[in-house]
Symmetry: C2
Subunit: 251 residues, 2 copies
């Protein structure tokens, strides 16, 4: 596998450069960050609510989700992390974590000491800018997530989240021919959209019956991308990915 040879932080670097150009020296500094690589199984916690993490973790490979649990035990998924995402920007500057992060799949995780990254952010304006932008884009995705869960019906919610995945994955080159392996169960999809797994199942079947997507096991194929976007009231603006960074506008 050539991927196993790749520098673990190159994914982070790539994500940073989605939003800002970095000078060579800064790029070097990011790659030279001290780090330790671990392979973890699906279901492992990267962070638990209440933790005081000392590392910032970068998903070199694999998927994860942020979640919070309510008093009566139901779970809300707040965000999905895809390869290259920095999982712990929150905890780089705040003392105690306000939510948990759990792996969706087996994953390779790079641990970077909190102080090392913090220092780069505060002393290198280019890196500071990049990290701040990253944080702000995450917040923008969160705002759209609120809208999705608060003001759209079940069909729109599911269609929307599928569109979001498509565009985000594509911006990292992780889409294969108008489709991808959805790394979540229908129950997790339900927790992400504020629905029940039963209803998610019915909606997915509906989208399939109407020819917007087709499914084979967990694989989602975008049968009618235009119609899916319409069904999900989706516009890519909130992702703040400039068009020329991706081929998605043709997609």
């Amino acid at each position: 596998m050539s991927t196993s040879k790749e520098h673990p932080l190159s994914y982070l670097l790539r994500q940073l450069e989605l939003y800002t150009d970095l000078p060579v020296e800064e790029r070097r500094l990011v790659l030279d960050l001290p780090h330790r690589l671990r392979r973890l199984d699906a279901g492992s916690y990267l962070v638990r609510e209440g933790d005081q993490p000392t590392n910032c973790m970068v998903l070199a490979k694999g998927y994860a989700y942020r979640q919070k649990v309510t008093g009566d035990g139901s779970r809300q998924i707040i965000a999905v992390c895809i390869p290259g995402d920095a999982v712990d920007l929150q905890n780089m500057f705040l003392e105690v974590s306000d939510h948990s992060v759990q792996l969706l799949t087996q994953a390779d995780v790079a641990d970077v000491p909190r102080e090392a990254l913090q220092k780069l952010v505060l002393t290198r304006p280019a890196i500071g800018t990049a990290i701040i932008k990253l944080t702000l884009v995450e917040a923008s995705i969160l705002r759209e997530w609120v809208v999705n869960v608060g003001r759209r019906d079940a069909r729109e919610r599911i269609a929307h989240i599928l569109c979001e995945f498509a565009v985000r994955l594509e911006s990292r080159g992780l889409l294969s021919d108008h489709g991808f392996e959805l790394p979540m169960t229908q129950e997790q999809l339900a927790d992400a959209t504020g629905l029940t797994s039963v209803h998610v199942n019915r909606v997915l079947k509906g989208l399939e019956a109407d020819g917007l997507i087709s499914r084979k096991r967990r694989h989602i194929h975008y049968a009618d991308w235009r119609a899916l976007q319409d069904a999900g009231d989706f516009s890519r603006r909130y992702l703040h990915i400039s068009d020329h960074d991706t081929i998605a506008q043709t997609f």
Copy 2:
């Protein structure tokens, strides 16, 4: 009014210092930021989705909310801004705004040129830290907002949002004797919680009938704070306000 004499950016400074200690020099630099003060009427837009703002605005006085509108015209309120909040941290580093900000009440707004604040953030580690923390706390509030709208029933949602207001207002010294003037209509409350105004009305009456709050016009009084927190599944952790900053834990 002594408030009219107060430096407009002192509110911002106070908010920054909620999360980080600033050296004297940095405090000076914040207060010396160039700015222009405007008084605007309720309903005015501070930012519109799609704008490319050149200023970062600080609410010196008054209330506002962030919102997004879906394709079919329904509105979701994403956050409520209270006096002292910086409205435009997003747009300080991102080019185009992904949501709108609209005033709830008449307000005094200080416009700070984007570049001036950006420069402070990138060259003064203490200020950079403070602004990043602010941004991260806002994101944390957003995550809790997702949980509220996604996984709590109507009564819990309303109770929770009332608790959040109480604690946030108190952290700025804006609570008067276990109550405050709620600056929103029931319809806006509905848009914030993903409900309808009719249902919000019934829930409010229910909370009142059960003795958790009492209301006089828009004034909310916390009749039974403990019970209201329980009803709203509320814990202040996600606000990242250290206990000793407020008297709220006794409240």
